[in-house]
């Protein structure tokens, strides 16, 4: 019952006209970001962070803006899946399977509307799950000591590659690199200068915001340049809406199943939105059985993965908000915003910054309604934007990134640094070193070191404290499993995902 009171307070925060305006703006921009191929949610949120920062937004408004963008991007990803057979972001991959055939059968408008509704339902289920689960988990997390936290961070890194991750060693390397970058600067506990080389700008450490923007936005530009994907795509026509109420009602079980499965996948470490939509799709296929025409434009094949990935998006906020340990790229970027707002993420946030947490949750609920309202009538507008060729779009996005970084500190030194990170990001991505663990390492590195220090001070230098309690042993075991399992299960799952993709005749 306590929760309802908090939620009401949250609504009071989110419903102020100022915050509502930013939620609407975020939802709109988010949809845009999601539907443009090559501008994923993590990327989009990353570019907006410096802007939110320089605008001097109050913390709750900044977080509301960014979570709306996040939710919007999850909605937007489906548009290009359906119309172009190109997922706007990774989780929208499964939506291509039936969405594109539907569009080819002349039911593009129906597919878009149905998927918007499914996204809404999935997101609502996910947010309800978040409301129910987060406070409980936060209370539980209060019992964590420094040793448990250290083990939890290890778990986060170990499972970050995901169950479908290809090369776990590369995930480990990426995380290590990120943590190493975070050690640059003056050591907080002793005051020792580490890796500063006497450069004044490095004393305070490397600002993770510019690292994030460089690694994501600049490297993305370079990828586009390399692949010469500057040209536009064919214009798509959406057609008339012929979706009947009966069809919508008959697919309610599909949406509920998808949302719940997605939420679970989102909360679990190492699963995430892509797996959420995959599981929802396959289970739906099995539940419907032979009666369905999956792969040929079955409406349930559009709704299940969309409900799944939006449910997962809200689910992924659970570990981020309660433990301060994000499980996906976008939530990692959201965490970056929290840290730069000087808010310590973790269980204490639910008591110390209740207005922010509950404001964000309420904003998610409001944002979803806004998104549904935005997405159905405005879909034509988003489709038009899809035909803006990247050769104009990406340079402008890059410029916005420059402006954002420059206006934080008004120093061009930061800009060079950002470009350097972009170039490094390009090479690392080419070598299949994932970006997200680097970011997470940058963000969590200082916390990890602090917790390690605290644990060892408590134990008087005895390292065995790190695995002394049953809870920390459990965390270490899960972390170990997260690191090893992908070698066992990964190939099978990946093969299945590929098989599912190949079953449908993907032709252009």
């Amino acid at each position: 019952m306590e929760t309802i009171g908090f939620l009401m307070d949250g609504f009071a925060v989110a419903f102020t006209p100022y915050n509502l305006m930013f939620a609407l703006f975020g939802a709109f921009v988010g949809t845009l970001i999601g539907c443009l191929p090559g501008l994923g949610p993590a990327n989009g949120v990353a570019i907006l962070i410096p802007l939110a920062f320089t605008l001097g937004l109050p913390p709750e408004t900044a977080m509301i803006l960014l979570t709306s963008v996040y939710a919007g991007a999850m909605y937007g990803g489906r548009i290009s899946s359906i119309l172009l057979n190109i997922p706007g972001d990774e989780p929208a991959m499964m939506t291509c399977l039936d969405g594109y055939p539907m569009a080819k059968n002349g039911r593009a408008a129906d597919a878009l509307a149905a998927s918007a509704i499914a996204s809404f339902v999935g997101s609502m289920i996910g947010t309800l799950g978040l409301i129910l689960l987060a406070p409980v988990l936060a209370k539980f997390a209060l019992t964590f000591g420094p040793a448990e936290y250290f083990a939890l961070f290890m778990l986060a890194f170990a499972t970050l590659g995901g169950i479908t991750g290809k090369n776990q060693v590369k995930t480990v390397i990426a995380a290590t690199l990120g943590i190493m970058i975070s050690t640059v600067g003056i050591d907080i506990s002793t005051g020792t200068q580490r890796y500063t080389f006497g450069v004044l700008e490095l004393y305070e450490g490397i600002d993770f915001i510019l690292a994030i923007v460089g690694l994501f936005a600049i490297s993305e530009l370079l990828f586009f340049v390399e692949h010469r994907m500057g040209g536009g795509r064919d214009k798509m026509t959406v057609g008339k809406l012929s979706l009947s109420l009966k069809e919508l009602v008959s697919t309610i079980p599909t949406q509920l199943r998808g949302g719940v499965l997605g939420f679970i996948a989102g909360v679990l470490p190492g699963a995430g939105a892509s797996l959420g939509s995959f599981i929802s799709y396959t289970i739906e296929k099995q539940a419907v059985g032979k009666k369905g025409k999956f792969g040929e434009g079955d409406i349930r094949g559009v709704m299940a993965p969309e409900a799944g990935n939006n449910g997962a998006a809200s689910g992924a906020l659970v570990p981020m908000l309660t433990l301060g340990v994000p499980g996906s790229g976008t939530t990692a970027v959201l965490l970056a915003m929290l840290i730069s707002l000087n808010i310590t993420p973790g269980p204490l946030m639910f008591t110390q910054n209740a207005d922010i947490v509950w404001g964000v949750i309420a904003a998610l609920l409001i944002g979803n309604v806004l998104l549904l309202v935005l997405n159905i009538p405005l879909v034509g507008f988003f489709v038009k934007l899809l035909s803006v060729p990247p050769m104009f779009l990406l340079p402008i996005v890059t410029m916005v990134a420059f402006v954002g970084i420059y206006s934080i500190s008004h120093s061009t030194f930061d800009l060079y640094f950002m470009v350097a990170f972009g170039v490094a990001g390009y090479f690392l991505r080419k070598l299949e070193i994932p970006m997200v663990p680097i970011i997470l390492g940058l963000l969590l590195g200082p916390e990890m070191e602090k917790n390690l220090g605290h644990a060892l001070v408590l134990s008087d230098g005895d390292w065995s404290i790190l695995w002394a309690s049953p809870l920390s042993i459990g965390l270490w075991v899960v972390a170990g499993a997260g690191l090893v399992l992908p070698y066992v299960v990964g190939p099978i799952l990946r093969r299945r995902m590929n098989a599912a993709m190949k079953e449908t005749p993907v032709s252009d």
């Binding site: 390397i173 506990s189 580490r194 402008i396 206006s407 070598l431």
Partner: protein, 148 residues
């Protein structure tokens, strides 16, 4: 040889790890004597992990990626140079001029017709400048266009 990319990366990371680990051992002992955890403890752990990871990469590299050659590579170099020059000229030339140049060159190199590319650059530069300076009152450098 296959996996050359990963092997080179592994070698580079190994050098980085050793340099990083070595530097950590050089710091003076903090005032008040050594405790359980000094400033070098955590970096030393990272050093060990990275050495192990880089050795693995060299022993068991993944197949190589397709690296851009010839014209693609040149385009990439051009893009990076444009970004660096953009950062260099932002303050002296001012936001509007430098942005027009940077966005224009980038979209021209990505395949737009030169005229449309530079018009896109100019329009986006002016819009963002006006929005930031007057709408949000965050000052971007006016540079040469500054009116006294």
């Amino acid at each position: 040889m296959t996996g050359l990319g990963d092997r080179i990366l592994g070698l580079g990371l190994l050098v980085l790890a050793v340099a990083y680990g070595w530097a950590a051992q050089q710091w003076p002992e903090p005032f008040g004597g050594a405790e359980g955890v000094g400033p070098e403890t955590f970096p030393t752990i990272l050093f060990v992990v990275l050495v192990a990871g880089s050795l693995y990469l060299m022993i068991k590299p993944d197949p190589d990626a397709q690296w851009p050659v010839g014209k693609s590579a040149l385009e990439l170099v051009v893009s990076v140079v444009v970004l660096v020059v953009y950062a260099l000229l932002l303050e002296p030339l001012g936001f509007v001029l430098s942005t027009t140049l940077a966005v224009g060159v980038l979209s021209w190199r990505m395949g737009a017709a030169p005229k449309r590319a530079f018009i896109t650059g100019l329009v986006s530069a002016v819009v963002v400048f006006v929005l930031f300076n007057y709408g949000l009152s965050l000052s971007l450098p006016a540079g040469l266009l500054e009116v006294h």
